[in-house]
């Protein structure tokens, strides 16, 4: 049997009961719990501490390990979330394997929830301590898992976000491999005229970024190339890159950045779009970049193909783009009429709102429309219902510009499968946590930035590229990857290769080995959640530190 219980005579469990000042001792009888603990089988020593986490309390644990020759330590105090690492490290410092430590929470689970019931709280604390001690008897020493790290990073996509990430990584001294599928890097900015809010030329901006990367000896660019295959995991990915019509190249990297951007929607069938008199903002950008615009009367319509039942999201950048272009047209030709029909002007923040205000001052007209009564593009005019007057109004025009949202690229889905990272309901890459981990994927070692995640303007895409680079630095600046030993293992002798566990694992940490017809856990990717152990019909999957015999011992002690 795995994880055999040590012979009773060799077990020397030390139990430390914490008063936490009066936080615990004020609501239950810690002395009686300590006395009780000392009578439990295997317990060699029990001690009550005023504050176990204080220097004196830690000293008691370490003294106990040395003088009492303790080979298991149980602390009954507060939450393992805040204090387990401290106690484990203290055990390690006294040369006791930190995985021979067990924590019991008699504060949150006892004194705090049973404040007015001293007797019962004391009894429950005893029960909890007995359970912890029973489990401790079955604990086994473990070694933290170490893995090597390749200090090299793959960046997929050479738009501003990817260039920003690559430039920053290279500047921090990491090797960078940038793969761009087009023959030129720069992404959407190669087609854009000037950049809001400051007005610099978009093409110059990317050129500057590109040159600074090219000047770095530790950056390699693969233009006109695609990532064909990805295997491995954090620290050790193996990548196959295929240049257009060329030989495949293999690269080994420690981390990956996804910066594949997005594309503006082509509004086929909407508002009489024809690409000549009714164009998209992107087509307008190209015309403006090419030279003076002939149109005298321009009407822009916002939210074309966005914020609608088939595409609910707001694309964030189109309002800024429309205002920027409206102002540019007025600057080039003050006589021109520009009218923007919108639903909400999404000019968030300082500079954007200022642009909106300036545009109004410069004579750009704004009118709101409601989605249940959208404007109608007719020959030479756009007609819309104006709520302020309650009338239908026609605006004469010789050019209609449609603001269409950024949508995921056609091949985003394929890339997501290649990397085994998710996309959201709109097809954008899905980060690990919307608020707290916006640039991470749930899968370790892979990061996202720019419009690949969700439409972003240049400033945001650049910041996110930088952000992804520092997320990577926190991993690759270390010599090796050290992770907790609390991971799952699958017994190759009993596994029947049913693959039930693979579906349950949220971290893609389990692989199927067809030649042996068994499943195997990648201990570097495993986070120790235990889903596989709970699923496995043959009980071959177990979680270290939470094996059936350890849990059963705890449960039987109830």
């Amino acid at each position: 049997m795995r994880g055999k219980k040590p012979q009773a005579d060799e077990l020397r469990i030390g139990v430390f009961i914490c008063d936490c000042g009066s936080n615990i001792a004020g609501h239950l009888d810690c002395s009686s719990v300590t006395e009780y603990a000392s009578t439990l089988p295997g317990v060699a020593y029990a001690k009550e501490n005023l504050y176990t986490c204080s220097e004196a309390g830690i000293g008691e644990i370490q003294k106990g390990i040395k003088e009492q020759k303790l080979n298991r330590v149980v602390v009954a105090s507060c939450s393992p979330r805040t204090h387990q690492p401290l106690f484990q490290n203290s055990c390690a410092a006294a040369e006791l394997n930190p995985y021979l430590f067990e924590m019991v929470n008699i504060r949150d689970q006892c004194s705090w929830v049973h404040m007015e019931e001293r007797e019962d709280a004391t009894q429950k604390a005893k029960d909890l301590v007995r359970m912890g001690v029973s489990k401790a008897a079955f604990l086994e020493p473990q070694q933290d898992i170490e893995a090597s790290l390749i200090p090299r990073v793959l960046v997929i996509g050479g738009g501003v976000a990817g260039l920003s990430a690559a430039g920053s990584l290279a500047a921090m001294g990491l090797d960078v491999v940038l793969v761009e599928k087009e023959v030129e890097a720069g992404g959407l900015l190669r087609r854009i005229n000037r950049l809001a809010p400051h007005g610099e030329k978009a093409s110059e901006r990317v050129l500057e970024m590109l040159l600074s990367i090219k000047a770095r000896p530790n950056a390699t660019l693969y233009l006109g190339s695609r990532v064909e295959d990805v295997s491995g995991y954090i620290g050790n990915f193996e990548i196959t890159i295929r240049p257009e019509g060329g030989e495949a190249v293999r690269e080994k990297v420690g981390c990956i950045v996804v910066a594949t951007g997005a594309v503006p929607l082509k509004p086929e069938g909407l508002y009489r779009y024809d690409g000549t008199r009714v164009v998209t903002q992107m087509e307008l950008e190209e015309r403006l970049a090419a030279g003076a615009l002939e149109a005298q009367r321009v009407v822009m319509i916002q939210c074309v193909g966005a914020r609608s039942p088939e595409r609910e999201y707001c694309s964030r950048i189109c309002c800024q783009t429309a205002v920027k272009n409206a102002r540019f047209i007025k600057e080039q030709n003050p006589e021109a009429h520009v009218h923007i029909l919108y639903r909400d002007m999404q000019m968030y923040g300082t500079e954007n709102e200022q642009m909106l205000c300036d545009a109004r001052g410069e004579g750009v007209r704004f009118d709101v429309f409601s989605p249940d009564q959208p404007p109608v593009v007719q020959e030479g005019k756009v007609e819309f219902y104006q709520p302020l007057t309650g009338e239908m109004v026609g605006i004469p025009c010789d050019l209609v510009v449609l603001s269409t949202p950024l949508v995921p690229r056609d091949d985003a889905q394929a890339l997501s499968q290649l990397l085994r990272v998710p996309v959201d309901q709109n097809g954008f890459f899905l980060e690990a946590h919307a608020k707290l981990r916006p640039l991470d994927f749930a899968t370790d070692g892979i990061f996202v930035c720019g419009s690949a995640r969700y439409p972003a303007n240049v400033q945001e895409a650049v910041s996110q590229g930088l952000g992804a680079s520092s997320r990577i630095a926190t991993i690759l600046f270390k010599d090796k990857l050290i992770t907790s030993a609390i991971v799952a293992e699958i017994d190759p002798e009993t596994c029947v290769g049913c693959m039930g566990c693979m579906e349950m694992c949220p971290y893609e940490a389990i692989t199927y080995l067809p030649e042996k017809n068994i499943c195997e856990v990648n201990t570097v990717l495993c986070k120790g959640c235990g889903c596989c152990a709970a699923t496995c019909p043959s009980q071959s999957a177990t979680l270290r530190g939470f094996k059936p015999e350890q849990l059963m011992a705890q449960i039987r002690a109830v």
Binding site: Y51, S168, M172, D344, G349, V368, E460
Partner: protein, 449 residues
């Protein structure tokens, strides 16, 4: 927060301020003032026994003054570090009175009334400014009558009311009701006291006060000084009981707030105060309206805004869901005025742009979405760091390196950079860390070679 507190490479200096920065990118010398907490950080375990016993009760700034705290306190329950702090302005002991109770109850011997501010000098390669924002004070807007009408509150105050760990345990009691309840409590105390005083007379003379007073009024005890006092006390007692009864009757009708109005752009997009858009307030109003509805399914909300700027990932979807499932109505327009109507209900006056009519509607509670103003002390901080501010009052940053301030080696992120929500702030913070790391690695490479 916990991760930062626990990280071996992060030295968290809470309750501290930067006083001086000398040197240059790659080699700054920063002077930090570590303010005296009067509690030893390495001894205090954060158990909180001290604040249980501390006799000095103060309004709790974390709960926007809606609850109370003691003179020895932790900013909030999950704060990192958990070290408690004595508020020197209010602590009895520190103000020359006899007390020191916390010192006596602290079993960790952590309280030290002699602690002084400490000055620490740090050698750092780069600096990140993440000093955030300040909530705009809407009492500057006369037409909204914040502070004059109790049921007009700010979004951040509303957050505390919604919070399960807040002053009302998450129930939406109206501030006007809370005021009445506080008044009742005070009156009840006084009534108890005066009952005690009457009790004495009643026992002495073996007569109920009411019966005695009847007789007294009929002139029964002319010239009896002691009974005269009794009569006086009884009159005073009635003067307490009557208003108390009135308040009790009023309080019977109290209910939690169920009809909410959210007023957007309070101080934002307003040339009298801040011309910019604060970016996150549309979303926090929607969030608060949804949460209020989750607590109490009958709750309905109206959000008044010029535009509803739901511009983040999943935000538009969230907004639509709020409308369909959480009783939110969105009304386009700026609120002109808030007044007080019957039952202390705030009345919102606005122009309905669809109906082209001026409308006044009453609500149970009005919540003001206040602007994201540059942080408290931003001028001084800019001066200390030697960096410029932009025309909006936030730290000025570059065009192509948008996290770089005007002094090399100093970077800004989050609301110190400009108004933004949490995901944007977090992404920028990582970005600023990268810029800082570039400087530090370059400096250490120079040193190594």
């Amino acid at each position: 927060m916990l991760d930062v507190g626990r990280h071996p490479d992060i030295d968290l200096m809470a309750y501290s301020e930067v006083e001086k920065v000398e040197g240059e990118s790659g080699a700054f010398k920063a002077t930090i003032r570590r303010k005296a907490r009067y509690v030893e950080e390495d001894r205090c375990t954060g158990c909180g026994a001290c604040k249980e016993k501390c006799p000095t009760v103060l309004p709790d700034a974390f709960n926007m003054g809606l609850g109370t705290r003691k003179a020895i306190y932790s900013w909030f329950a999950q704060g990192i570090p958990s070290t408690h702090t004595i508020d020197p302005a209010h602590c009895r002991q520190l103000n020359g009175k006899k007390c020191g109770i916390c010192q006596k109850v602290c079993q960790a011997n952590a309280v030290n009334f002699d602690q002084k501010d400490r000055i620490v000098e740090l050698d750092v390669g780069a600096i990140v400014v993440a000093s955030g924002y300040k909530v705009f004070d809407p009492s500057q807007i006369p037409e909204y009558q914040y502070r004059q009408i109790p049921n007009v509150i700010t979004a951040i105050e509303f957050e505390r009311l919604l919070s399960a760990s807040g002053p009302t345990a998450g129930h939406l009691h109206r501030p006007s009701d809370l005021l009445v309840e506080a008044e009742m409590e005070a009156l009840e105390k006084d009534v108890k006291k005066s009952e005690k005083a009457l009790d004495k007379f009643e026992q002495k003379y073996g007569q109920a006060s009411a019966a005695f007073y009847d007789a007294y009024q009929k002139g029964a005890y002319e010239g009896d000084e002691d009974r005269g006092k009794w009569a006086e006390k009884y009159v005073a007692h009635l003067a307490l009981v009557e208003p108390l009864d009135a308040l009790k009757r009023e309080a019977e009708g109290f209910d939690v707030a169920k009809r909410l109005a959210f007023v957007q752009c309070v101080g934002s997009r307003d040339f009298r105060f801040y011309p910019f858009c604060s970016g996150y307030c549309c979303m926090h109003s929607i969030k608060e309206a949804i949460i209020a509805n989750e607590h109490e399914r009958e709750t309905t909300s109206v959000i008044f805004g010029m535009d509803i700027r739901a511009v983040g990932k999943g935000f538009e979807e969230y907004k639509i869901r709020g409308g369909n499932q959480s009783g939110i109505t969105y009304v386009r327009g700026r609120v002109a005025e808030i007044t007080e109507g019957p039952q202390r209900n705030p009345v919102v006056t606005y122009e309905d742009t669809r109906e082209r009519k001026v409308i006044s509607r009453d609500f149970d509670l009005v919540i003001l979405a206040t602007a994201c103003a540059p942080s408290e002390g931003v001028e001084r901080l800019a001066e200390i760091l030697g960096i410029e501010r932009n025309r909006f009052g936030f730290f000025k940053t570059g065009t192509s390196q948008s996290l770089d301030t005007t002094r090399p080696g100093i970077f800004a992120c989050g609301c110190a950079h400009g108004p933004m929500d949490i995901p944007e702030s977090v992404a920028q913070a990582s970005g600023a860390a990268a810029r800082a790391a570039q400087i530090v690695t370059a400096a250490s490479m120079r040193k190594a070679s």
